[in-house]
Symmetry: C2
Subunit: 322 residues, 2 copies
Amino acid sequence: MRIAVAGLGLIGGSLLRALDAAGHQVIGFDADPATRDAARAAGFQVAESLAEAASGSELTALGVPMPVLPQLITELAGYDGLVTDVTSVKGPVRDLMRAHGVGRFVGGHPMAGKEISGFAASEKDLFAGCAWVLCLEPGETDLDDWLALARLFTGMGARVVPATAGEHDAAVAKISHVPHLFAAVLAAQISNDPLAGALGAGSFRDGTRVAATRAELTAAMCGGNAGPVGRELRRLIGQLEEIADALGADDLVQLLEVDELVPLLKPGEQARRAWPATAGEPSAMAVDETALLELGRSGGWVTSVNASDVVTLRPETDRNDP
Amino acid sequence: MRIAVAGLGLIGGSLLRALDAAGHQVIGFDADPATRDAARAAGFQVAESLAEAASGSELTALGVPMPVLPQLITELAGYDGLVTDVTSVKGPVRDLMRAHGVGRFVGGHPMAGKEISGFAASEKDLFAGCAWVLCLEPGETDLDDWLALARLFTGMGARVVPATAGEHDAAVAKISHVPHLFAAVLAAQISNDPLAGALGAGSFRDGTRVAATRAELTAAMCGGNAGPVGRELRRLIGQLEEIADALGADDLVQLLEVDELVPLLKPGEQARRAWPATAGEPSAMAVDETALLELGRSGGWVTSVNASDVVTLRPETDRNDP
């Protein structure tokens, strides 16, 4: 099938390359003329507008940042093909598509990235082995459309994770957005304390790595998922307050407080030691909306899509039992 | 000079090896007979008691964990040589030494470690390039004793950082202890959320790495520095609350909140990008208690000790200016 990819940065450009490498006919578009030229120079067919790229394409993948989406999708008026996206927040995109009457939409989010961005950084193997969330809204998403995308992305080597937009946004708040906020306040500790900076070693280095991300990008990422991030952040603040209470006053001997601290730290130790989960044996599963969402909730994913079933992997149960 | 090292785990064992490699006469001791045998098998002279090791040694280095120190130093009654230690908290050790009347004491803390512990993991080059805090208490520490240790440790390749015990404890709360607590609550987020665990990538991996440390060890480390850790933790909780407030309510469009977020995240970005500081040019400095403490507070350290001065390095000023 012919596929249009609009927005040819790191993710969109890599998607164009990966779909091309998988044998699909692809056509790209980017609002930036220099990027269009670069994609043409790399041998790709490139349209001069989104409407031109989408026209005649069975699927249009939107590879632009969230703030650009509202304007861009107005150019899809009247388009009756399937639409997907790759932005890192899924609830607001779902609402946007509903508001604009984009009928055949399945939101996606490949958990892939690099330190550098732009078409020049794109590569056809960026998604090999990466988790690619494909949103499945009960009673709303067309299962055939979902399966068509799952077939496409598993064919590029991605692990396709079924989840609702809400489940996705809550999960990425935990594993990406809140970690960025924690890193920022940890890193700021040394702002006016060169002695502390000079003593920083492994735990500081790793705990603050993503704080080097431009503050504007982190703010946009977290602000775009403000509800789930705010809720999760407040929940963790509550846990940190429990730890601060257990540390108690500034006494010389702290044996009692240590005993109180251990149960507050043990869940994190156990969770981190069990992560990442080891995949179990592959198994076939009949296609079913509820079963797919259960697969995602249990930490599993789809590895391939066949005529009558999907092949899935789940974490080994033993490894994840507490 | 002859040097006794008591406690031959990773740090003590490595210190024994490093001092030996630097041409000093060393004698070890460990409460565990198997460890004593291992050190003897490695070719070292090993005593059967701390008193025996210390007797005739000009310096005794205590390489045991904080909880073992109170009992161990009773065996140093009457010893008139210099005593140092390597534990990760310095205020409580200073108080302990005062309480036991250990006169010639200079506390130390090498910022070195490995994932594995014990004499078998020790190595003579463990301290090459590592920051080694040497405590300097105004009006209390004998400057000649301090310089003797600074000469010894810089001779092993360590960067000797002058600081008071209080300054040390506040700094390690920031760059090690609080990061361990943050990692623990971040990691625990996926305890009952396999979907989030399946989506975790780089920011989760790095932000939670030290959460895999045994909870008992983290609790002992933080509990042993409870005052500074508790104060710093409460300060950072306040900053996280400001961020949570800026995230505001669960609205679709969050542009205002993003603008509020940036200034809360910018200090962390700037601090992390400037870390680690680049060392400036070496310069000689006359030995002076106040000047040495200022050196440490400015992020600098001692690289060698000469007859009349010390050679120091400070961070390049340009790099650390905001």
